[in-house]
């Protein structure tokens, strides 16, 4: 049912909608418009380091759209490889989180009701503890004279330290470690609402447990799988800190490149264009996530 737009809201409702709405327009929507605008301007050495897009002179408004930044992104294989690297990193990390997180979420959902909250808290607790500190912990563990190499050398499995830190392997470990809780939470949310009688029915009808899993449990938890995957995939594409600390020179990710363009090269227009293209790549996953969330809200409403 469609309702006509209510123009005359009561005063209180006006404020309740107005305050957060105005705040988000100002500090969330407007900034994106500005990024889009700057991505079309020409970089110069000045403060701020770009040319104005609109110029009003001699009774004519000149709008100069400079497509150069986008052409540069298309042209330079550095950016192309960075995007590709980020997407690959995000895909593999998402799969890794899914493979580790799904059985964990399943085990929590099947645990006695009384201990479920505590188990969820235990999963979430690390993600509340400083993220930077946890990445830093892995630097100590993975380094050449770190815990892993010490143990392996002591047991005699290897004779000289393995180079793990500053490789892509270290970045994968760091990302899966950091984002695992974000995968488990939505999976647990759907798995705990699963109707167990369906699984019992399947096994009563003679389905073996693995078959039941593929044909009943997994399809029913599809929503959680999508939500969890998007919660991991989207932020990992823009990840900066983990590749910076754990990765090496060959672990090229777009978040790192954007950061360098902005802070080291001070090329604001190119950094903006990089952000816009990144957002373009993420449109589909972001829409998927929003759709899942909207459906969840309808369900509980």
């Amino acid at each position: 049912m469609k309702k006509p737009l209510k123009f005359r809201l009561p005063k209180g409702q006006c404020w309740t909608i107005g305050v957060p709405y105005f705040w988000l327009l100002l500090f969330f929507a407007l900034p994106f418009a500005i990024v889009l605008k700057i991505s079309f301007s020409t970089p110069i050495i000045a403060i701020p380091p770009y040319e104005p897009l609109f110029q009003y002179a001699e009774e004519s408004l000149n709008i100069m759209l400079n497509l150069g930044n986008y052409l540069l992104i298309l042209d330079d294989s550095l950016y192309y490889n960075a995007y590709l690297g980020s997407l690959k990193m995000a895909t593999i990390s998402t799969l890794g989180c899914l493979l580790i997180g799904y059985p964990m979420a399943y085990a929590i959902a099947r645990a006695p009701k009384s201990s479920q909250t505590l188990l969820v808290l235990l999963v979430m607790l690390p993600s509340w503890t400083s993220f930077l500190i946890r990445v830093y912990a892995w630097m100590g563990i993975l380094s050449n004279n770190g815990v892993i190499n010490n143990v392996l050398m002591w047991t005699g499995l290897i004779s000289e330290p393995l180079q793990i830190l500053n490789t892509n392997t270290a970045v994968y470990i760091g990302i899966i470690y950091t984002y695992l809780p974000f995968m488990i939470l939505p999976l647990y949310a759907t798995l705990s609402q699963l109707d167990m009688s369906l699984i019992e029915a399947a096994s009563d009808l003679g389905s073996r447990s693995l078959n039941t899993f593929w044909k009943v449990t997994l399809p029913l938890s599809k929503g959680g799988v999508i939500a969890g995957s998007m919660l991991v995939f989207i932020p990992v594409v823009g990840e900066f800190v983990i590749p910076e600390l754990l990765g090496g020179p060959d672990s090229l990710m777009i978040g790192k490149v954007l950061w360098q363009e902005f802070f080291n090269n001070r090329d604001w227009p190119v950094a903006s264009a990089l952000a816009i293209v990144m957002l373009g790549l993420l449109i589909i996953p972001i829409t998927l996530f929003h759709r899942y969330q909207a459906r969840e809200m309808e369900k509980t409403a």
Partner: protein, 271 residues
Amino acid sequence: MKKLSFSTIMLWAGMFFLYAPMFILVFYSFNESKLVTVWGGFSVKWYGELFRDQQILDAVGTSLQVAFYASTMAVILGTMAAFVMTRFARGWGKLTLSNMITAPLVMPEVITGLSLLLLFVHMADFLGWPAERGMLTVWIAHSTFCAAYVAVVVSSRLREIDRSVEEAAQDLGATPLKTFFQITVPMISPAIVAGWLLSFSLSLDDLVIASFASGPGATTLPMVVFSSVRMGVSPKINALATLIILMVSLIAFISWYFARRADAKQRSSSA
């Protein structure tokens, strides 16, 4: 004996994976040796060093202030948005609001940070405000992204509570504002407390957005840690990490306690 299933084994292996690095960090914070990974005997000297480091202490002060104000603002914005999302009739206003408020949950941090910085630069150009970036701009940035988390936590609570109590209050003549503060807020207070604490720890933890939004005057703790970690591993950071882990665990257990108490209350009232 109960048969161990594959998923249970995975659960405990996963828990080990999640916790082992943090225990190693805490363990090595009591290491006498300057080399982080070589055990040189028990000592608390790095804690002493930590408390003599003025730069770190200043950053802790800045971070705590920003986190306090940001989580307070986030609770106000997030609760209002959650109220709109759960109580108001469907419309384009509600739809765009709920889309905008939840967007920061998934947006890559570099994009949020970059866009906010460019906004502040533009505002300084056109309005002359903010004259320079500092605590105020970090506060705005943190309030915005923490509001998203508060909105999710509070709106799920708002959906669960019994609306007939609110309706009864209004039937008895309470104004909507009075109903909200005297009936609704007490009922959702555990979610508000949990949202505030969550925002507080998110703000304390944030590096990327703070790096974009802050100026020379406001260096937050993660920024100091990041620049010192980049230089190499330092035992002082182990001591700092241990203190952070301790504090966050405490906050987490307090918010868990509030949530559990609220659950128990709800269960006993609905029974």
